[in-house]
Symmetry: C2
Subunit: 321 residues, 2 copies
């Protein structure tokens, strides 16, 4: 595999090269690090939009509508859909979720589903890598969509340049509680399915909650993805945010870029540590649990023992370069 050549094909936006590159980094294959190094000079153009919110609010449909609109404006769009994983099988639960619009024939759109870590788990560890690859492939906008039932919703905030929170009218009291969390992370709030009763109440409610979070002044917009209402206004708002991001390597723009890079570094490091830990878990934990059962070790001591020898095991990927 020639990473230089793959990087060159990426830079031309070759979709097959993108797919190949993503598979490579997801599997931590030989050359993955080299590829990520080779694409370095071409990075920094893509605007990463995190899309999150409770289940059932129509995030995927909205992402499809946004994609249509971005395409009309001549922009290239990458979509990364983070799906929860079954705790037992490790497989993606929503891997087959149906996208309303078929973009598969459009060379300007690249869609990738990724399994999160664990059921309702955090971002797939490789998401930082994938964002970089899509950036290198000259995507203008990369939407990272989470299913809104887990850690991924928080983690996406760390890597995104801006976050769009999708809500809908009539969400219950429990969601109200998570909404307090969501109020902290959004740059743009969308009340989707705005043709349903109570949409205005939800907007008023959101504006009131926004007032409690000083220093943030989010946009709150009513949209109906199904009826295609309000989408252009939303894209206009998002495009203003992207323009600021592109215009400025200084001040707020610089801060946003730096925050995203920090998020990508910590996500990558975290993934590496957890993968390493899981790698040694199976047989060793079994033996340690037996020791705990026999009262020869405490759980605390067993955890320590499990973490010993960490140094010897780490760096498998590094050697593969």
């Amino acid at each position: 595999l020639d990473t230089k050549e793959l990087a060159a094909r990426l830079a031309k936006g070759d979709r097959r090269a993108v797919a190949k590159a993503i598979t490579l980094v997801e599997n931590d294959g030989a050359g993955a690090a080299g590829l990520l190094k080779a694409i370095g000079p071409g990075l920094g153009n893509a605007f990463v939009l995190g899309v999150t919110g409770p289940p059932g609010t129509g995030k995927s449909s909205l992402v499809d509508r946004l994609t249509e609109s971005y395409r009309k404006r001549g922009l290239k769009v990458g979509i990364v859909a983070i799906d929860p994983t079954s705790p037992l099988t490790g497989g993606a639960l929503l891997g087959d979720r149906i996208r309303m619009v078929d973009h598969t024939l459009d060379q300007g759109v690249f869609i990738r589903s990724m399994a999160s870590r664990g059921w309702a788990g955090g971002l797939s560890g490789a998401v930082a890598d994938v964002i970089q690859l899509l950036d290198a492939a000259r995507m203008d906008v990369i939407m990272v969509e989470t299913v809104g039932i887990g850690q991924a919703d928080t983690d996406v905030v760390r890597v995104a340049h801006a976050v769009m929170v999708v809500l809908m009218p009539g969400l219950g009291d429990d969601v109200q509680a998570s909404k307090a969390g969501l109020m902290e992370i959004g740059d743009v709030y969308v009340v989707n399915k705005a043709d349903l009763p109570g949409a205005d109440d939800t907007v008023v409610d959101l504006l009131a909650m926004a007032r409690d979070f000083k220093g943030r002044d989010p946009s709150v917009l009513k949209v109906s993805a199904a009826k295609k209402e309000g989408v252009e206004v939303l894209v206009g708002v998002l495009e203003r945010i992207r323009a600021k991001f592109l215009a400025s390597d200084q001040g707020r723009g610089r801060e946003i870029r730096l925050r995203s890079i920090k998020g990508m570094i910590t996500e990558t490091a975290r993934r590496r540590v957890l993968v390493d830990l899981e790698g040694r878990t199976d047989s060793k934990v079994e033996a340690l649990a037996e020791e705990v059962m026999k009262r020869r070790l405490t759980v605390d001591e067993a955890a320590d023992t499990l973490l010993e020898g960490k140094e010897r095991r780490r760096g498998t990927r590094r050697r593969a370069r």
Copy 2:
């Protein structure tokens, strides 16, 4: 601090000692490891029941009803409520959620709220420690209740001896998707709010889904926590499971104990690794992100650099012993 004395007070079920001990292990205070060692011989009696399910299904009310019923049977009950944490402030979002019944004057009940890691994050890392302390304090049943919107729901499966999934009639299509995940983890399924329309449909639905998961034959029960209907039948089912757990150090009972111990070891190890990683994150990541911004490092290389020097930093808690 005399850990031996604290352990002795714990063994008598002294609630103030329990509170003190939990604070100690949560803060990784000096003597925490010693305390966990000292209580070792007294462990193994408590039955750990994970309680999970989507938001709004009335888990807390049901846990309250179960507590009442267990108390009538003369059993001591520990409740660990895992609350989601704000991604920005780190504070618990639902810390003030109202429990329907006030057990605070009852010496046979101990309730502790713990913040999860990150908003909708996994179990608080110290949950394995807290379970052990409540076990040492002679609790017969420990209910670990998660809010049903995150990683904690999966993680609780790993440490619990049995898992009760709480659902309700009329859950939407998106919850349907998470239900597929929930079908894998439950030993007992409760359709709470069974006085609402559609309860029987939900039961039929659950039984049909259960059939798809061979090898598991979960109980499906209709309950109304609010109307106190069906609670005694549910406790009867749970008590049968607990009896099997208590009776047997062999076969299935042994397997369940071993699985829980394995879960507690990996949770503890995971917490230690992540705490360690976070500890070095702030200043070092800032500097590394600047390097990435200047294209001197890739994200990949920055993550590696962040993980270097790990060995030197680890083991702070160990030294404190």
